[in-house]
């Protein structure tokens, strides 16, 4: 009679819901029914592939707990495994879809010109706030499907959802549009959720119920969201004065805001974001007003709207995508307006990226692009409350 395989013994590396990863002498294996096994525990894995805890370290004996420099909780170690699986799922998806991965430059001569994003200076240049300009030049050069997963840097951003250095996942499709990019995003987030947790229903954050990230996602035009959730009725094309009156009618104190975007976001942060955070599924906010166009192109047939989609899921602002603006003259005009806006607010004014404009002038195909906060994606699929819970180190730990 053939003897059964002997049980493997190993240490739990990560835990996701009802599965654990175990490193044994022979291999890393994934098993179910782990009971209350936690990362760091010694377990036996019988051939039935169900774990049995054989030894549990008390917290103060847990390997690594005594190290001054590498003291991380068991939960955080487990999160790093989840993060690694998420990154692998992202790369597998883009490889399957025929994308090329590039290493975007981290040190650049001019960062993006967005009014509310401050760059960190580095030597003669800046740390990149986004890989967008270089990726668009690659579109012009003929790379039609391109993605980058790597660090970006933004000054003064620290908190539960922010770190001055964070991982950005950004991708572009040439000869394509925002619709295709939205479909990519829906498919990608679902794949990552399944890779990390085994299901598209991910644990909610802050006592919410679970969130199902399976596509298709609910789409809400931004102006409708402002009307429905903030009571700020907008048709589009309102001046700043008209917007201020609409806030007043909705009982929202503008608290000294006079600029169009400040008024808009005061209502958005007070009322729209909390409403979106309660949804048990991701939401795509689409059809943004032209005042908040950034690098999006105008929507054909609706001059006061632009092709922009922002993803909110589980209280996290997860991603922002555009039908890309490819008109060099209009792009220059918007860069110059951003420069004036920064100067008026007393912020440093960065130089215009002339090489990006030259590439647009030579011509890039119609394109869609999405920028997704990878740390937040890991937070979403693991239910982590804070960015630091899914990062090896954040700024105040260095």
């Amino acid at each position: 009679m053939a003897s059964e395989d002997p049980p493997l013994r190993g240490r739990v590396l990560w835990r996701a819901e009802d599965r654990i990863g175990v490193r044994t002498q022979a291999a890393d294996v994934e098993v179910g029914r782990p009971g209350d096994a936690r990362p760091g525990d010694l377990v036996r894995v019988p051939p039935a592939r169900e774990a049995q805890v054989v030894h549990r370290y008390p917290d103060d004996e847990f390997p690594g707990r005594r190290s001054e420099v590498a003291r991380l909780s068991r939960e955080r170690l487990s999160m790093l495994w989840a993060r690694s699986r998420a990154a692998r799922a992202v790369r597998e998806a883009f490889e399957e879809w025929g994308f090329v991965e590039i290493d975007a430059p981290r040190l650049v001569t001019t960062p993006g010109l967005e009014v509310h994003i401050d760059a960190i200076t580095a030597g003669e240049g800046y740390l990149a706030t986004s890989p967008e300009p270089q990726m668009k030049r690659l579109l012009a050069a003929g790379l039609e499907r391109v993605y980058a997963l790597g660090p970006c840097f933004r000054g003064g951003e620290s908190g539960d959802f922010h770190n001055p250095e964070f991982s950005m996942l950004e991708w572009y499709r040439g000869w394509s549009d925002l619709e295709a990019i939205i479909a990519d995003t829906e498919a990608l987030v679902s794949r990552v959720a399944v890779a990390v947790t085994g299901t598209t229903r991910v644990p909610g954050r802050r006592k919410q119920g679970e969130i199902d990230v399976a596509p298709p996602w609910e789409r809400i035009p931004v102006l409708e969201a402002m009307t429905a959730y903030a009571g700020v009725a907008l048709r589009g094309g309102e001046s700043a004065e008209e917007l201020a009156r609409a806030l007043d009618a909705a009982g929202i104190d503008p608290r000294g805001a006079t600029a169009w975007d400040d008024l808009f976001y005061t209502a958005f942060v007070d009322r729209v974001e909390p409403a979106l955070a309660r949804k048990p599924h991701p939401v795509l906010l689409i059809d943004w007003p032209a005042e908040l166009a950034a690098l999006a192109r105008k929507k054909p047939g609706a001059p006061h709207l632009v092709e922009r989609a922002e993803v909110y899921a589980g209280g996290l602002e997860l991603a922002n995508g555009f039908g890309e603006l490819t008109d060099a003259a209009e792009q220059r005009a918007r860069f110059e307006a951003d420069q004036r806006s920064r100067a008026a607010r007393g912020l440093p004014v960065y130089p215009i990226d002339e090489r990006l404009l030259a590439a647009l002038e030579e011509g890039i195909p119609p394109a869609g692009g999405m920028a997704l906060g990878f740390d937040r994606l890991v937070m979403l699929v693991t239910g982590a409350e804070r960015l630091r819970d899914v990062a090896a180190f954040v700024w105040d730990e260095l």
Binding site: V115, F161, A257, D261, D262, Y265
Partner: protein, 188 residues
């Protein structure tokens, strides 16, 4: 004036003429908009909690509040007199401000007194006080069968506390002043 970047826990600010303390805050930043600090504030007079989203660059007025450790001296009717042990300043605080806390005051108990514009507006007692049981019925063993595992006891400082049946008059007990619950018997 404070700036939005000064926001941190326990910062005392004045809003609509009322003093508030920051109990929690979170940095948020919509993709293409200015940063906000989602701030949870506690009204120091009413204890009510409000949420405010403070936009980057918004100004906040500091509240003229001060916390001082003061010793309880004596009571005169509904007024209770406290003294600052370093300056010997005395202040009289009424029952309205003390609320249920008056029942736990005993000689030389050190409390934290909150002053707003130099007026005492609140008293925070120590979380736990040790007091003597002034009056309680002897506990009869048979009472537990009816599901009665506690009995009322009047403590020396005046409050009534539910205590286990084994606690006798004259013994010292530890009481949680936040909940009014018995914690344990104290060996004297």
């Amino acid at each position: 004036m404070y700036d939005s970047s000064d926001i941190r826990k326990n910062l005392k600010v004045l809003m609509d003429g009322q003093p508030y303390t920051v109990v929690d805050f979170q940095f948020i930043k919509p993709g293409k908009g200015a940063a906000f600090t989602r701030t949870k504030l506690k009204n120091l007079l009413t204890g009510g909690i409000v949420e405010k989203n403070i936009r980057s660059g918004e100004k906040l007025e500091p509240a003229n509040v001060e916390e001082r450790d003061m010793q309880y001296l004596y009571s005169d009717g509904d007024d209770h007199v406290f003294m600052d042990a370093t300056t010997y300043d005395q202040v009289s605080i009424s029952n309205d401000i003390l609320g249920g806390g008056a029942g736990y005051l005993k000689d030389s108990l050190t409390c934290t007194v909150l002053f707003f514009n130099d007026r005492a507006v609140g008293v925070t007692l120590p979380n736990f006080v040790e007091v003597e049981v002034a009056e309680t019925e002897p506990g009869a063993r048979g009472d537990t069968t009816a599901g009665n595992v506690t009995k009322p006891a009047k403590i020396e400082s005046g409050a009534e506390v539910q205590v286990p049946l084994f606690v006798n008059q004259g013994e010292r007990i530890k009481v949680d002043t936040r909940t009014g619950h018995y914690v344990e018997r104290v060996k004297s």
